[in-house]
Symmetry: C2
DNA sequence: ACAAAATAGTTTCCAAAGAAACTATTTTTA
DNA sequence: TAAAAATAGTTTCTTTGGAAACTATTTTGT
């Protein structure tokens, strides 16, 4: 019975899908999608940053970043302007609408993590966050290295 | 600086996306997509099972299950037949083509998990799998309970 | 026994995200 | 300094997966 099953991959997918459903359900009423939330977080926390920074901070492709930010600009959560020193680069700024929403979205994010870690002890929770980050960075570095 | 950031959600998404890229790159050469892999695993392990069991075992919607299994049938990895006792239910069987592929896909799955857990000690690895499962089941139960 | 409810699958529509090809700027280098 | 390479963004196409509406079969409750 000790075959290698890699059953854990199922839980990686499950955790992600259910988390997205949780976030979507709660943020929909506020007018944003779950996918937009991390972008609003970064815009609000940074105040001003070039668009390509979203790619590195979230480890998301520039195509996806372009699409999400175009949507957020359309909906009035951010503004963008061409950088003065580099004509290729777009600077991104949060609007007041985004800044007003920010604490509510943070609250939703925390509630999501609470539900994820509900059956854990405080120590397990700390350990889980550590290992989650470790695993994500490890597989990410490996995959990114292949594509060069 | 001790604000609640729910930054861990970023790593949940990252782990999932990079894992999918890893699997897709390796299974593409074998003729299947990363999304099909868990379905082939279950079909091969079970030998015969009703279609709705894929929904419960993978915690994936019946619409998605119907589409993936239709694709796998098309590509010759499974066969399906209406259950003798219940005319609504479809029984799913793996083909020899799937059974031949199975060990290779298992190997790829294991390599993926190896990369994920590469910087971990053996003890951390065990702990990670435990907590990953715990978190996925916890958020899943909560989300599913809401939708009733 | 038959109408209502539940169950199994399918299909359509939509959101999230990567890949690749493209444009437009900068930076390097020969 | 002009051509080549690198960088920043956009657009198009594709894959993955859920939601909801739909069909077709049981199962239940009266």
């Amino acid at each position: 019975m000790e075959q290698q099953t890699s059953e854990e991959l199922k839980y990686v997918s499950m955790l992600h899908r259910k988390t997205q459903i949780f976030l979507n359900e709660r943020t929909k009423a506020l007018g944003v999608s779950g996918a937009e939330v991390p972008f609003i977080f970064i815009a609000c926390r940074m105040g001003q940053l070039p668009q390509y920074q979203f790619c590195t901070m979230l480890d998301i492709s520039k195509g996806t970043v372009a699409k999400v930010l175009a949507g957020l600009e359309q909906e009035g959560y951010i503004t963008r302007s061409i950088n003065a020193e580099d004509g290729r680069s777009m600077d991104v700024f949060p609007t007041q609408k985004a800044l007003d929403l920010y604490p509510k979205l943070q609250e939703i994010g925390c509630r999501c993590m609470d539900k994820m870690t509900e059956p854990m002890t405080e120590q397990e929770r700390e350990q889980f966050f550590l290992l989650l980050k470790k695993s994500a960075l490890s597989i990410s570095r490996f995959v990114d290295a292949l594509q060069e």
